[in-house]
């Protein structure tokens, strides 16, 4: 029997949701019939709006999709201005202030505390500047990701940017691909480093060559969520750039027709690839969904992949730093700790991008931002700007390697507080823990739950929300995984540390790194060390320990209306609220 979500989607979905959204915006929160909340909140996701968690009723997270992470000149300022005007809620974050922008691991933007009544104005401003929230969430084509310097990379194999943009233009708003069984995540990579992270996407175009022609090999069925991580699998197809749309549309249609609509937990295409195998996927794609003869795979570049690989050798692992572009200009990759920037900093960055570059800014899958098109003669002046002290192009590895998801601040699924905690972890580790010689990249990803929004399984140290009891009290805790990474031979982390109280995690990392240094063979990377060690040994090397690190979020942050509020109990919640922020009382 189809799920309720499928029933709601069959009644109203896709572009037509917008009209209803505008009507509800006019009437305010209370105009949504109480017995239709579930249906409308589910549908609103298609337009990038996700209702915030318990205690924050009437407030929404808004996601803006930026294909391939590209913000064209002027767009960053627009996003900053919208955040400044509309993303201020009743709670203030102690690290980031009252309004901020989140740069996500899918090169998108998230704003919080958005009110329904402000949606028309926000949409008008976004669309006047060629930005949109369309299909940023929901069961459809999500933001298309790729190497964030596609088209500008001096070492690029094939320009993937036109392919990504073409997919975006074709499949955003296309009624035939509006309603899929679940989310559909697509990656297009054209660089030699594997920066598109195709391995963890539903559909991946990866750089390849066949008979002297440059194009892409196709992989299908990658993903990290729900304790069921899969690497995308090779379906033995080579496609030239001009045919990518047809193959992508064919795969999307195959998923639409054959994906599981009875059980949302089994709906992702990774499970269909498990069930059918790659040969059948290819056969059905060919026979039912593509009009031309598919070519067999070409020669790929995977042995050159370095991005987020955890290996010590060659290539770049992220886009932080100063790098030459293919036109002789430079891009400057700024480290944004846990991907969050206050609005004042966002607007300042927009000014700097205008002043020193073309005004374009790009977002990476490691939650960082790049200022592009900077002439060589302006580099020193840009690097001397005070803003770059906080968002350094040459950060300490613990700052550079940190990624965190949204956590219990807003998310219903998360088990623990994440962003502020990871900020504190990174600062403490920087001050108190030495990395072994030559280790310049060290990735620590903190995800609040098994949904894996922080991509924990592909980090050197993977942290995942859990709980435990300490001195009889339930406290926030983390499971610890080790040795994940992409690259030529991608590998998911082994979860070897269980239920470590959150305040003992920095000590555990410090002890683990000390053991790594002691046992390290030559210049080997942490990932190599993990791979040659057995699980029992690694488990012993994780020694949780209380240190000078203090964690203010050990209580159950999920049971607060907002974890950082002075009066944080659910009863103190000012939600739901009307357009001006006035709480709506139940006796109204």
């Amino acid at each position: 029997m189809p799920t309720d979500v499928e029933k709601w989607k069959s009644e109203t979905y896709g572009n037509e949701i917008r009209e209803h959204l505008m009507e509800f915006a006019e009437g305010g929160w209370e105009s949504i019939p109480e017995d239709e909340h579930d249906a409308w909140f589910e549908r609103f996701k298609w337009w990038g709006l996700y209702h915030q968690r318990n205690g924050q009723e009437s407030y929404f997270m808004m996601r803006i999709g930026t294909p391939n992470g590209v913000l064209t000149p002027g767009q960053l300022r627009v996003v900053g201005e919208i955040a400044d005007e509309y993303a201020r809620g009743p709670g203030e974050n102690p690290e980031f202030g009252a309004a901020y922008c989140d740069w996500t691991t899918r090169q998108s933007i998230q704003l919080h505390w958005i009110r329904l009544e402000d949606i028309p104005d926000i949409f008008e401003k976004l669309e006047a500047n060629d930005l949109s929230t369309q299909q940023a969430c929901g069961d459809s084509w999500r933001n298309i990701v790729g190497c964030p310097v596609a088209g500008k990379d001096s070492n690029e194999f094939v320009d993937a940017l036109p392919v990504a943009m073409n997919l975006h233009d074709t499949f955003k708003g296309d009624d035939d691909h509006t309603n899929l069984p679940r989310k559909w995540k697509v990656s297009v990579t054209g660089c030699r480093e594997g920066c598109g992270q195709g391995d963890i996407n539903d559909l991946a175009f990866e750089p390849a060559e066949k008979d002297g022609r440059k194009g892409f090999n196709v992989r299908v069925g990658g993903g990290l969520a729900r304790n069921e991580p899969r690497l995308a699998r090779d379906i033995d197809v080579f496609v030239e750039p001009e045919d990518a749309n047809e193959v992508a549309g064919g795969m999307s249609a195959l998923f639409r027709e054959h994906g599981n609509r009875e059980d949302r937990y089994s709906a992702r295409i990774k499970f269909l690839v498990d069930e059918w195998g790659t040969e059948k996927i290819r056969d059905v794609l060919q026979e039912e969904f593509v009009d031309f003869e598919l070519e067999t795979a070409g020669e790929d570049l995977r042995d050159e992949y370095t991005y987020n690989s955890g290996r010590a050798t060659g290539g770049h692992h992220d886009h932080v730093g100063v790098h030459e572009q293919n036109d002789g200009n430079y891009y400057v990759g700024l480290n944004v700790l846990v991907g969050r920037m206050g609005v004042d900093d966002t607007l300042e960055l927009a000014d700097l991008a205008d002043e020193y570059g073309s005004g374009e800014v790009r977002l990476t899958q490691r939650q960082n931002v790049l200022v592009t098109d900077v002439p060589e003669e302006d580099l020193d002046d840009l690097l001397a700007e005070p803003l770059l002290e906080d968002y350094s192009p040459d950060p300490h590895p613990f700052m550079r390697g940190s990624i965190a998801c949204t956590g219990t601040e807003f998310c219903s699924l998360s088990i623990v507080e994440t962003k502020n905690r990871q900020v504190r972890y990174a600062r403490w580790l920087k001050e108190n823990v030495e990395l072994p010689d030559g280790v310049e990249n060290f990735h620590i990803h903190l995800s609040g739950c098994t949904a894996s929004c922080a991509q924990p399984q592909i980090a050197d140290i993977s942290l995942r929300g859990m709980k435990t009891r300490k001195d009889g009290e339930a406290v926030e805790a983390l499971d610890i995984g080790l040795g994940g990474g992409l690259g030529e031979d991608p590998r998911f982390a082994d979860w070897v540390g269980q239920r470590v109280p959150a305040d003992e995690v920095p000590g555990a990392i410090g002890n683990l790194l000390a053991s790594f240094e002691e046992r390290r063979e030559g210049e080997e990377s942490f990932r190599d060390f993990v791979e040659r060690s057995d699980e029992e040994t690694l488990e012993v090397l994780i020694e949780p320990e209380e240190t000078s690190y203090e964690d203010p979020y050990m209580h159950n942050t999920k049971l607060t209306w907002y974890p950082y509020a002075e009066e944080d109990s659910m009863d103190d919640s000012p939600a739901p609220a009307s357009a001006d922020g006035t709480p709506i009382t139940s006796d109204d």
Binding site: T3, D4, E34, D35, E36, H37, D38, A39, F41, E42, R53, N54, R226, N227, R264, Y265, T408, S412, L413, S414, I415, C449, T450, A451, G465, M466, K467, T468, R469, K470, D471, G472, A474, A477, Q498, R499, N556, K558
Partner: protein
């Protein structure tokens, strides 16, 4: 009277009458899901919701933080309907999954809340 029940947001909630009433990521005391007398169970996700008479139950997956076992559970009671309104179970209730018997005890059994 028909009551609307469903899971929402990728298993984050049990919704009763279009209201998010029971959330994932909480700690429940549950019997029979691992070798512990009473599991101290972190609900990582809710996969389905069911009803038997007035009792509403959720199928979940999660981890016992005493023994570390990760399990998928039979329906575990989360609350009941009283005069048409949903009453959630108290946090300290011990929940007995369906398959054993339907129900719960109001107080934790001894030794369930220590750091043993």
């Amino acid at each position: 009277m028909a009551v609307s029940l469903r899971t929402l947001d990728d298993g984050a909630w049990v919704s009763v009458e279009d209201e998010r009433r029971v959330g994932a990521s909480e700690l429940w005391y549950v019997t029979g899901v691992c070798d512990c007398e009473v599991a101290d169970f972190v609900v990582e996700g809710i996969t389905d919701v069911d009803v038997d008479g007035r009792t509403i139950a959720a199928e979940t997956y999660g981890t016992c933080i005493r023994c570390g076992r990760s399990v998928t559970t039979d329906p575990v009671p989360v609350g009941r309907l009283v005069d048409g309104a949903f009453e959630p179970l108290a946090a300290e209730a011990v929940r007995i999954p369906w398959g054993d018997s339907v129900g719960w005890q109001v107080s934790p059994v001894s030794g369930t809340s220590g750091d043993d």
